[in-house]
């Protein structure tokens, strides 16, 4: 959308640019369209017209004004063939930087020889709300007049004929860029449309030309810094720093003994740290440009309320997830060091959404109130009581434990199950004796209660899927065929832990992955389609947004990631293309081509939604019994409807209204609605519209040690 509005980089400028390149012999007449495009993009990406302007004028008449004069008056200089007119007079520096940024991204895309580069490059719309992490609207534009006066921009006002919007833009953008510093990758602004009016009427006033929207593209590294460091107190730059930051800059003493000016922002949790640019922008605008906070509408954290836990509103759950993962690390260390098992533990891998940071409602440490439950004394467990409301839902986190290899395992499937049960029992005994943890063992898993979190440990034997696959033909020949039991086992013990660790790694690289995945899953489940999709398939779709973000950059905030998720789901051609998620960059371009041709050949045997990862290239195991065509179609239609609604809400300068509209499912499609009594719904508080009152579910609020196993998985 770069070419719209006043001061946009329009098609005329691009044609002039091509003419310039032809005149400097960079483009020959024999070049094809693609080569012309490529050289234009390369030129835009590499040269900087704010420093070295270019000119179409060939004569070197000394009466012509020099380029340096033009640079003093205008930010971007591109002269026409007369030498007197700057074609880019209305183009601001930030618009030009945006053009350069897009050109660089496009060059990278063309170089990477991606398969649908044309589609991505030239046919994907990039509206501001979807391209930029945080967006802010400045609404009553009449405030900008006061801002111009405050910033002493009278020469610019005169130049532009009283258009205070354009006059203020330049200095506002430089102000904000200086303030945001290293947090910011790119700042861009919207341009008011060029309006037409009748001859007999007056031209429309500047304040009626819509709102001014600024988009911020943030660097993920700068998200966590709470501090802005300034120069040392005795240097002359310190006074500039103080004057820039006003009352917020303080003298602080640091660890290395230096006394520096610094600005500290209060931010407790990760969600608040993401909103530090909001604080920066409002402070600077109020201080320097006299624009009060009520005129600035910041759209960056509006969707955060949907991934907050029902009780605490200051964080969006990242800290809770991190606490759960720390507890899991402790448990795995205990398991590694466990003595007394006949075979030692060789690997402990997580296999639950919590351990890959994508669980929508992260678990909190539980401490059950004993009066609420019945107790089963001899098994040290709690049971729900029929007269009380349903107890709180505690979900155990699955952990797969591999033992060292040994030839002593039996070769019969039933015998392997019994041996595994014996291992589970022994594990429970050892954990209780050596570390005092409350355990409960069954034939297939052992539940371990540690620090208020419950883990479900499964012992796995690597050769078991192979043994399940063996079938004896009547002649006595052994053949290997995939049975449902062997596929299920392989998925649980081999593929799921690998996927979990790959996504864990992805989360470390892109911290916003967790927020986007949780929002996306919340939306799918709120639309009552959660039963059709496995958790893992949704996580992989979100991972595709981060691994193949072309033509965007990877998202740094949950909001923009969610919008891109809706766009991907609604526009991806599931019937004719597999979604290739290149975890850890393991697939080369040739392999991807092979996968695509293999996909076309076997399309009828594959499920409706095909997701390919480096670990499973042919079968799409996560969507095997996954969405039926009707459910997938319903999801696509819902996403296509939800996206424009949500974007309109977010771009509305008056405030977004009810952001939860998109999360409420349409109920008039269904013939029968069964209403459940809230007394027996353990997850009642997790509804999209949180209820005013709910029932006490038998948990005490302060954490502490418990000695009985709580009610697990009871819903």
């Amino acid at each position: 959308e770069l070419d719209k509005g006043l001061g946009g980089f329009s098609g005329f400028l691009v044609s002039m640019l091509v003419a310039f390149l032809v005149s400097t012999r960079k483009i020959h007449t024999t070049m094809s369209g693609y080569q012309v495009l490529r050289s234009v993009l390369q030129f835009l990406a590499t040269t900087d017209l704010t420093v070295n302007g270019i000119s179409l004028c060939l004569s070197s008449d000394p009466s012509l004004p020099a380029l340096a004069d033009f640079h003093q008056a205008f930010p971007v200089v591109f002269l026409d063939s007369s030498g007197f007119l700057n074609l880019c007079a209305d183009v601001t520096a930030s618009t030009y930087h945006q053009v350069q940024h897009e050109a660089r991204l496009s060059m990278a895309l063309l170089d990477s020889r991606a398969d649908d580069g044309f589609q991505l490059l030239l046919m994907t719309p990039k509206p501001m709300i979807r391209a930029f992490d945080h967006v802010l609207h400045i609404h009553p534009l009449s405030r900008l007049q006061a801002a111009c006066h405050r910033l002493k921009l009278w020469p610019e006002l005169q130049d532009l004929g009283g258009d205070y919007v354009s006059a203020a833009l330049g200095s506002l953008t430089t102000l904000l860029e200086q303030g945001l510093g290293s947090r910011l990758h790119l700042l861009a602004h919207s341009r008011p449309p060029v309006s037409e009016w009748d001859l007999s009427q007056d031209p429309p006033k500047h304040r009626d030309s819509g709102t001014l929207t600024l988009g911020l593209l943030l660097r993920p590294e700068g998200l966590t810094s709470v501090l802005e460091l300034g120069p040392e107190a005795n240097q002359p730059e310190a006074s500039d720093f103080r004057q820039f930051w006003g009352s917020r800059s303080e003298l602080r003493r640091f660890q290395d003994g230096a006394i520096r000016e610094a600005v500290v922002w209060e931010a407790g949790s990760m969600a608040q740290k993401r909103l530090i640019p909001h604080q920066v922008v409002t402070h600077l605008l109020a201080l320097h440009a006299n624009i009060p906070e009520t005129c600035v509408h910041y759209v960056g954290g509006l969707l955060d309320t949907l991934i907050q836990s029902p009780k605490e509103t200051s964080s969006t759950g990242e800290e809770a997830l991190a606490a759960a993962v720390r507890c899991y690390d402790d448990l795995s260390r205990l398991l590694w060091g466990l003595e007394g098992l006949p075979l030692t533990v060789s690997a402990v891998q997580g296999a639950h959404p919590v351990l890959r940071y994508t669980e929508v409602f992260p678990p909190t440490p539980v401490r059950p109130a004993y009066s609420f439950y019945e107790q089963l004394r001899e098994r040290a467990s709690l049971l729900p009581r029929p007269d009380k409301p349903c107890p709180a839902y505690v979900e155990p986190m699955t952990v797969v434990c591999h033992l060292e290899g040994s030839g002593q395992w039996p070769q019969d499937a039933e015998a392997i199950r019994r041996v595994r049960a014996a291992f589970q029992l022994r594990l429970a005994e050892l954990l209780t004796q050596q570390h005092g943890l409350q355990c409960r063992a069954t034939a297939t898993h052992t539940d371990v209660l540690k620090d208020g979190f419950v883990f479900r440990v499964r012992v796995a034997y690597q050769r078991e899927p192979q043994i399940l696959r063996e079938m004896r033909s009547p002649e006595g020949m052994i053949s290997l065929r995939d049975t449902p039991a062997s596929l299920h086992l392989e998925r649980e013990t081999r593929h799921l832990p690998l996927l979990t660790s790959a996504l864990h790694g992805l989360q470390q690289q892109h911290p916003a992955f967790s927020g986007v995945a949780r929002l996306a899953k919340r939306w799918v489940r709120a639309q009552l389609l959660g039963a059709g999709f496995t958790d893992e398939s949704l996580d992989l779709v979100v991972a595709a947004l981060f691994l193949h973000p072309e033509p965007f950059t990877p998202p740094s905030s949950p909001q923009v990631g969610f919008l891109r998720f809706l766009f991907l789901v609604s526009t991806f051609d599931w019937k004719n293309n597999p979604l290739i998620v290149n975890l850890n960059n393991e697939l080369t371009v040739e392999e991807q081509g092979e996968i695509r041709s293999g996909f076309l050949a076997t399309r009828t045997q594959l499920p409706v939604m095909v997701i390919v990862t480096p670990q499973d290239r042919k079968n799409s195991v996560w969507t095997q019994d996954g969405p039926t065509p009707q459910i997938l179609q319903q999801l696509v239609v819902l996403a296509a409807e939800a996206l424009p609604v949500l974007e309109k809400q977010l771009m509305d300068p008056q405030g977004p209204g009810d952001i939860r509209t998109v999360f409420r499912p349409p109920l008039d499609l269904y013939d029968v609605l069964i209403r459940l009594s809230p007394r027996h719904i353990p997850r009642h508080r997790q509804a999209v519209d949180s209820p005013a009152a709910s029932f006490c579910r038998g948990l005490l609020s302060e954490p502490g040690p418990t000695s009985l196993m709580p009610v697990l998985g009871y819903d």
Binding site: Q119, L383, P384, D412, R417, A422, A441, A443, M477, I478
Partner: protein
């Protein structure tokens, strides 16, 4: 009209309930309060000539459409007015053999979520079967004296049942493994003593323990052997010697070209259909 009635003879004329031909219908309700009832379809258990069935012929009642809240004790209680009941067996699908394996371990084979099932009721006397066939009246699965748990109570009791008992589990595992180990040891001993001993026709079984190396009997191994044979044969045969071989290879080549052309045409059709950029 009478003829039409007879053709649709599967209708039970009294209540107008459809049932499969040859079955009689007995309504069954969960308790007094319900208005609608499920229907059990009963028939005397009959098999074709020659097929074996382990259910005693004259005394067995075959019941279809048993609802999930009806357990074996419940069924035996309901059919006891017809005659003394010897045994009841509930199964997923009608199965002729009474698969009396060792009772499935409740730890290792948890009962699946029940749907509608099929029952074989064995009476002690054949009179019970005929009395059951004319049984009328809605049967009540859950009365005051024998209530069937449902709802919250059922879920709580199934959760309580799922909490495992480690001692029982350990005992079962130990007994199984002892039996298994004994069986494996016996098989080993038997195999060892039959080593190299010819059977009644003079054949000696080739096993892994013999002096000559032997291939494992898997499909992969046999495929490997066949593949090797094929390659050896292909090396030896002459491919371009006879005139008919020339002719055939040319025709095959042409057919392949034609097939590839068709495939490419289809692929291009698909690509054209998928094209999203249509500027005109």
């Amino acid at each position: 009209m009478v003829a039409r009635r007879r053709k649709r003879g599967s209708r039970d004329p009294e209540q107008g309930i459809p049932s499969p031909p040859g079955y009689s219908v007995i309504p069954i309700k969960f308790s007094e309060k319900q208005q609608a009832s499920h229907y059990l379809y009963v028939r005397e258990h009959r098999v074709r000539e020659g097929t074996k069935s382990s259910w005693p012929q004259k005394r067995t009642l075959f019941v279809l459409n048993v609802p999930p809240y009806c357990t074996e004790e419940c069924l035996s209680r309901l059919f006891s007015p017809c005659g003394p009941v010897q045994s009841v067996q509930l199964q997923e699908k009608p199965d002729l053999t009474d698969s009396a394996e060792e009772p499935k371990s409740k730890f290792f084979h948890p009962t699946p979520v029940p749907g509608f099932q099929v029952a074989y009721v064995v009476f002690q006397k054949p009179g019970g079967v005929s009395a059951a066939l004319v049984l009328k009246g809605p049967l009540l699965a859950s009365t005051e004296s024998h209530p069937v748990k449902s709802g919250i109570h059922k879920w709580i009791s199934s959760y309580a049942a799922s909490v495992p008992d480690p001692e029982a589990l350990r005992a079962e595992v130990d007994t199984f493994m002892e039996a298994y180990d004994k069986r494996i040891a016996e098989e080993e001993a038997k195999a060892k003593e039959e080593e190299g001993v010819p059977d009644e026709e003079g054949w000696v079984k080739v096993t892994r323990r013999g002096r000559r190396p032997v291939l494992p009997r898997t499909e992969a191994a046999s495929l490997r052997v066949l593949d090797r044979e094929r390659r050896k044969r292909a090396r030896k045969e002459l491919l371009n010697f006879y005139a008919w071989q020339h002719r055939e290879s040319k025709m095959e080549h042409l057919a392949q070209l034609r097939k590839k052309f068709e495939e490419d045409k289809q692929r291009i059709e698909l690509m054209r259909a998928q094209r999203k950029f249509r500027p005109y």
